[in-house]
């Protein structure tokens, strides 16, 4: 925390922790978070879901259509249903027919991509603001709110002072950042964001504290054992995939209804896969996924809002690397020492030499971050033991 505050003051890049950046970051976290949770529910019941991207695409299209016809809340509902459709197809293909789960996912992505193009051609062409690759704008936006007292929210009509906003504007060391971050998290908050975040503890509770959750997890850890105890593995996998599809659809819905106000082709931009990476990074636990998604959201937020700040980010990375370098030297972890040293040198050089990162390259930031995240997160991972392994009930084992 102290480090990023120092970096901010040194480089005079307020955007690093401004409420604008953080607010955007939070908004961008949501689709990745939901995609990651979609991946979680699928893999926890034992099915790898590469098709999250496709289910998100269904979500964006059906969500936009619903919002255009009826309004934002109905739009979100349609988005969920659209995603569930994709989840159902995946379930039938992999659970009932036992085809390879990755192949099924890839084909669903193709199907979704072209399917919504076809639907757009049918429905949107000729309508005002619409076309083959985008939909007309939605009727009305989803309500947003400000947290009372802290960020200027309303309590029974009375507008409270914006304490965090004031804190932020003072630009003090640490406290200023606190203000910025806090306000970003609580100002202009969309209900969709709240829903998405609530899904995290709800999922954790459902998976670890209910009978349904235990049985679902056992379907992913050892379907053979579960079956022998009377658990209906295949039925649970259907449920798990429907939930997964629904979450993916919701993720798509937030893209076309909340983050923007219409559907556009390519809106998902690989977030479904980034969601999978987040799930791996989060070690298949909801809390980890939330952390990972926030990391990605922040990266995307910086890229969008303040791409000049990327150079400041290099300094930040350099500083963090230095800290980890010292830490790993003390702990005598040879590989880590080497990695952090390289990271420090690379980011320091980058900071010194690069003034502006060309637009075309910044586009690749989230994908590069994904690779880096996957490369560093690979130890001590505990995926559900039998995820990806086809299961046929009743056959001799």
């Amino acid at each position: 925390m102290a480090i990023i505050s120092t970096v901010r003051l040194w480089t005079d890049q307020d955007a690093l922790t401004s409420s604008g950046t953080i607010g955007t970051a939070l908004r961008l976290t949501v689709p990745i978070l939901l995609a990651g949770m979609a991946g979680l529910w699928a893999e926890r019941c034992g099915v790898i879901n590469i098709g999250i991207e496709g289910m998100m695409i269904f979500g964006t299209w059906f969500g936009a259509w619903g919002a255009w016809q009826f309004g934002p809340w109905v739009g979100l509902l349609f988005a969920i249903l659209g995603g569930m459709f994709g989840g159902l197809v995946h379930a039938v293909a992999t659970v009932r027919f036992n085809i390879d789960q990755v192949i099924s996912g890839v084909v669903i992505n193709l199907f979704a991509f072209f399917g919504v193009r076809y639907l757009s051609e049918l429905v949107y062409v000729g309508k005002p603001g619409g076309g083959i690759s985008q939909s007309p704008p939605q009727k009305s936006a989803l309500p947003r709110f400000n947290l009372p007292i802290l960020s200027g929210g309303e309590i029974a009509g009375w507008k409270s002072p914006d304490f965090l906003g004031w804190l932020e504007s003072q630009r003090w060391f640490i406290l200023g950042d606190f203000g910025g971050i806090g306000r970003g998290l609580t100002h202009n908050l969309s209900w969709a964001t709240v829903i998405a975040i609530i899904i995290v503890p709800v999922s954790a509770w459902a998976l670890w504290r209910t009978r349904f959750g235990l049985r679902l997890r056992s379907s992913g850890e050892s379907p053979v054992a579960a079956e022998s105890l009377g658990v209906k593995v295949n039925r649970l996998r259907y449920y798990g995939l429907l939930i997964s599809g629904g979450l993916a659809g919701l993720a798509g819905g937030t893209l076309s209804i909340v983050a923007s106000s219409y559907y556009r082709q390519g809106q998902t931009a690989g977030r479904g896969f980034i969601g999978l990476a987040t799930m791996i990074f989060g070690n298949w636990r909801p809390s980890g996924i939330l952390t990972g998604a926030m990391l990605f959201g922040y990266a995307e937020g910086i890229k969008l809002v303040a791409s000049d700040s990327i150079t400041a980010l290099f300094l930040f990375i350099a500083a963090i690397s230095a800290v980890f370098f010292i830490y790993s030297v003390i702990r005598r972890k040879r590989v880590q020492v080497l990695v952090t040293l390289v990271a420090f040198i690379v980011s320091a050089i980058a900071y010194r030499t690069i003034d502006t990162v060309p637009e075309s390259l910044t586009q690749s930031l989230p994908y590069v971050v994904t690779l880096i995240v996957l490369a560093t997160a690979n130890q001590r991972l505990r995926p559900p033991a039998m995820a990806g392994v086809p299961f046929r009930p009743g056959e001799p084992h």
Partner: protein, 356 residues
């Protein structure tokens, strides 16, 4: 042999099933399936459409073989998209800096394309070998990164505006570097190269020692390791070979049509179409060529469809549904075939036993 026939039979059956499902979907969305299918058949079977079908099939063959090489080792190379675009840019650019007599110039460009594709694919291979990153996600990420990287390279270094006009490209390749046409202006020699590659694929994978090791690593990687087949090296070689073939996907366009690379001149999406064709062709060269022809046939009709009021994207939807249904049907029927093989073998043994 019997298994191949069974697979062919079930694939054909699956295709008809898929067409039926598509017809239902069309009806649901208010379009007349018979009119659509009729139009497709009508336009597809004209003589000049035949040439167009081969032309569209060519890049699909390259793409599908690239994917199939990976599949044989249980590796999912979804990154063909990025690999071929990267290769197209590099090869197009390199092709303008070199002057060689005609056949060598073309060969040079092709080799550069293959090397570039292999190089991009090797990134995913290293990520998998060194850090254990699943190649599905890494190749997909590399696709997006490739798009970005290519755009930057193109804008910064390789762009040539001397031609004027809206379609920006790299410098045009000299005539010595262009692939001659088979059918004037409609189909170029890369089609022959594609068939050649399919043949080489068959020989290498199914009849060579290396191909045996490749397939063994795919069938049971642990048993292969125990039998002396080095896992990491196989992964690297397989992905690089896959990338090399992927590099050729855009070559028909680059040296046969456009004579260069341009973001709007070279078509995208061939990477994913290749996956579909490989799945449809069951990773076998004959199946792949056949499936590529089928897709080429369907694609060639899209323009006419559009003109007669049917959204052309229906073609792609049909293709996606065909792939899904074929994969499902093949899985079910191959399981049934395996069960029957086991039963037949047990029966044969029983009669052997009884005679003893």
């Amino acid at each position: 042999m019997r298994k191949s026939l069974a697979t062919l039979g079930s694939s054909l059956g699956a295709i008809f099933l898929a067409l039926f499902i598509c017809a239902v979907l069309l009806l649901v969305t208010g379009k007349d399936p018979l009119a659509a299918y009729g139009k497709i058949l009508e336009t597809g079977f004209t003589s000049d459409k035949f040439v167009e079908m081969l032309k569209r099939a060519t890049p699909l063959i390259f793409s599908a073989i690239a994917v199939a090489i990976g599949f044989k080792m249980n590796l999912f190379n979804i990154g063909v998209e990025g690999q071929y675009l990267f290769a197209a840019l590099i090869a197009a650019e390199m092709g303008t800096h070199v002057s060689l007599p005609a056949p060598l110039h073309v060969l040079f460009i092709l080799v550069v394309a293959m090397v570039s594709g292999a190089a991009w694919a090797s990134i995913a291979a290293f990520l998998k070998i060194v850090r254990g990153i699943n190649e599905v996600i890494s190749t997909i990420m590399l696709n997006y990164i490739a798009l970005s990287f290519i755009q930057w390279l193109f804008e910064t270094f390789f762009r040539d505006d001397s031609d004027g006009g809206l379609n920006v490209k790299t410098t045009k390749i000299a005539p010595s570097g262009r692939m001659p046409d088979l059918v004037h202006d409609r189909l170029n020699g890369m089609f022959i190269v594609a068939l050649l590659v399919a043949f080489v694929f068959w020989i290498v994978v199914f009849r060579s020692r290396f191909g045996f090791r490749l397939r063994a690593s795919g069938l049971n990687p642990i048993a292969a390791r125990t039998a002396g087949i080095p896992a990491s090296r196989m992964i690297l070689v397989a992905l690089m070979l896959s990338g090399a073939v992927a590099g050729l996907v855009a070559m028909p366009a680059v040296i046969g049509d456009v004579y260069g690379y341009g973001p709007s001149a070279i078509a995208t999406q061939y990477g994913f179409a290749g996956i579909a064709v490989a799945l449809l062709g069951r990773n076998h060269p004959l199946g792949i060529v056949g499936a590529a022809m089928l897709f080429g046939f369907l694609d060639s009709t899209s323009a006419e469809l559009q003109l007669s009021g049917i959204p052309s994207s229906i073609v792609k939807v049909i293709q996606a549904i065909i792939v899904l249904v074929v994969v499902i049907v093949n899985e079910a029927s191959s399981r049934r075939y395996n069960r029957r093989t086991a039963e037949r073998a047990a029966m044969a043994l029983k009669s052997l036993d009884a005679r003893l």
